[in-house]
């Protein structure tokens, strides 16, 4: 086992543990901080899987913007009685069963196609991914230009929707 493989298994274990802690902690702030740990470890996994650009985006957008947004909204609300009320609904064993069922189905589906030898997609024709930023940029503004613009429309709709939903409605005099 090389050092990189060991690093990958560390990242995988740490991300699973921090995800478990994030969904089970009673204090919402602690949950969000464990999600921060999860995002950091997933960024490390992206680095190991040769997706450098996505690792940077993960840190900047997920950990830097989305998570801070969650933290701000959580601090705006009054959650003082959160520690005293039950964190799970009474049906939580069913929820755990649904999660385990999903994991089991995914693993069985992988056993069917053991180690995916037979599957070959369309390779990009440039050999192994290296310097993937260039490939991503060329694809993003080439064949994926229309989806890219549509994503910007989705984000615009989300901005307008968030403003409309969260604004305070004052009655007209």
């Amino acid at each position: 086992m090389t050092l990189l493989t060991a690093t990958f298994y560390y990242m995988a274990t740490a991300s699973v543990v921090s995800a478990l802690l994030a969904v089970t902690r009673r204090n919402p702030l602690h949950s969000l901080l464990w999600v921060l740990a999860l995002f950091g470890h997933v960024a490390g996994i992206f680095l190991l899987l040769e997706a450098e650009f996505l690792a940077v985006v993960q840190v900047v957008v997920y950990a830097g913007a989305i998570l801070i947004f969650y933290l701000f909204v959580m601090m705006l609300l009054d959650l003082s009685d959160e520690d005293t009320r039950p964190r799970f609904g009474n049906h939580w064993p069913f929820a755990a069963g649904a999660g385990l069922l999903f994991v089991a189905i995914a693993f069985i589906a992988q056993l069917e196609r053991s180690n995916m030898v037979g599957i070959r997609g369309t390779p990009s024709g440039e050999g192994p991914l290296q310097g993937s930023l260039e490939g991503i940029g060329l694809a993003l503004f080439g064949p994926f230009a229309l989806p890219f613009e549509m994503v910007s429309l989705v984000l615009l709709a989300a901005i307008v929707g968030a403003v409309v939903l969260a604004q305070r409605r004052v009655p007209r005099p």
């Binding site: 090389t2 493989t5 990958f8 991300s15 699973v16 995800a19 969904v23 919402p28 949950s31 969000l32 999600v35 995002f39 997933v42 190991l48 899987l49 040769e50 997706a51 650009f53 997920y62 989305i66 947004f69 969650y70 909204v73 609300l77 009320r85 964190r87 799970f88 609904g89 049906h91 939580w92 929820a95 755990a96 649904a98 999660g99 385990l100 999903f102 994991v103 995914a106 693993f107 995916m116 599957i119 070959r120 997609g121 369309t122 990009s124 440039e126 991914l129 993937s132 490939g135 991503i136 694809a139 993003l140 994926f144 989705v154 984000l155 989300a158 929707g161 968030a162 939903l165 969260a166």
Partner: protein
Amino acid sequence: MIVPTNVVLGLSAILFGIGVFGFLARRNVILMLVSIEVMLNAINVSLVGFSQHFENPHGQIMALFVIAVAAAEAGIGLGLVIALNRNKPGVRVGDLTELKW
């Protein structure tokens, strides 16, 4: 390749299962949204794993779109939380029994 693609997909499945559990079990609206973020992250892990397996950067572009949709979802979701909180303080989904006040 550092690890087989199966390992990456297994990790993604486990993270997604944890997110499913969190979404269904938590009673706090904000933590349910956070569980959705965990699920979207699991999807990204599997997309990047496929991208490495097929030596094709298109998977990473899909992951980029997923991140953009996650940002939009966070904005809309938290706007809804603030609007609900203005009508009725608290973030418990069990308290939200009416659509209109």
